[in-house]
Subunit: 137 residues, 2 copies
């Protein structure tokens, strides 16, 4: 029997919520260093991308690329990084991170790269507002 | 005018080819530390996931998850990591990496984690053979 879906406590602690899309809960990381979104499909017990049915996988990609397009349009951003690791937090989640040469981890990955810097509340609110425009589809 | 697609020289140097799937060239990294596949859509000038038309994106996911399922079935593997970064190699490419606690980068990402270790030829051939079973679709 599957349990009901709830957001993993570590993801809840590290992020602020933006909105629920058709499949995923959209979050942004509390980290001033990066414009960094996370999508978590609201599917109980999901740990791996290849466990998702094809229709859900395609919907996840629709949501991931909508987020990526918004982040790619932010000032100064030249690259989008995608990742789904889950080595520490087993609940399946997808990272979309806005990057540019000279950012705090460039050209390395953001994962495992130093500690988060507490965000400026106004900047965080602006990022949430930009990602809230994607709409519920 | 788009140029014809060719594999980026850095990807060519770091990998061995497995096969061409419907959309992507499937490669494996020359690195004894990880069973590590890379998929490169044969689309000229592609640098970002969100630039792919939806049909190609869904096909890429079909190919990515087929690779992930094979790697997840290898002995001792407990986690699959996915990533598309492109901070160093601009040609869009997707990493699928078989992971387990105690591997050379665990629990961190493989990207930027030390130098590749030359693979044993027989082990590399075995990995190529396992991934060659996916078939051209």
């Amino acid at each position: 029997m599957s349990s009901a879906w709830t957001l993993h406590e570590r993801l809840a602690a590290d992020t602020v919520p933006v909105q629920d899309l058709a499949l995923s809960r959209l979050l942004v990381m509390r980290d001033a260093r990066f414009a960094w979104a996370i999508l978590v499909p609201r599917v109980p017990d999901l740990t791996e991308l290849h466990q998702l049915p094809a229709a859900d996988r395609d919907q996840l990609m629709l949501e991931v690329t909508a987020v990526a397009s918004v982040l790619a349009g932010l000032p100064g951003i030249t690259k989008i990084n995608h990742g789904a690791l889950g080595n520490l937090v087993p609940q399946f989640h997808w990272h979309v991170v806005a990057r540019h040469p000279g950012d705090a981890a460039w050209p390395g990955p953001v994962w495992g790269s130093g500690a988060a810097v507490p965000p400026d509340p106004a900047a965080l609110e602006q990022l949430v507002a930009a990602l809230a425009t994607i709409g519920p589809a």
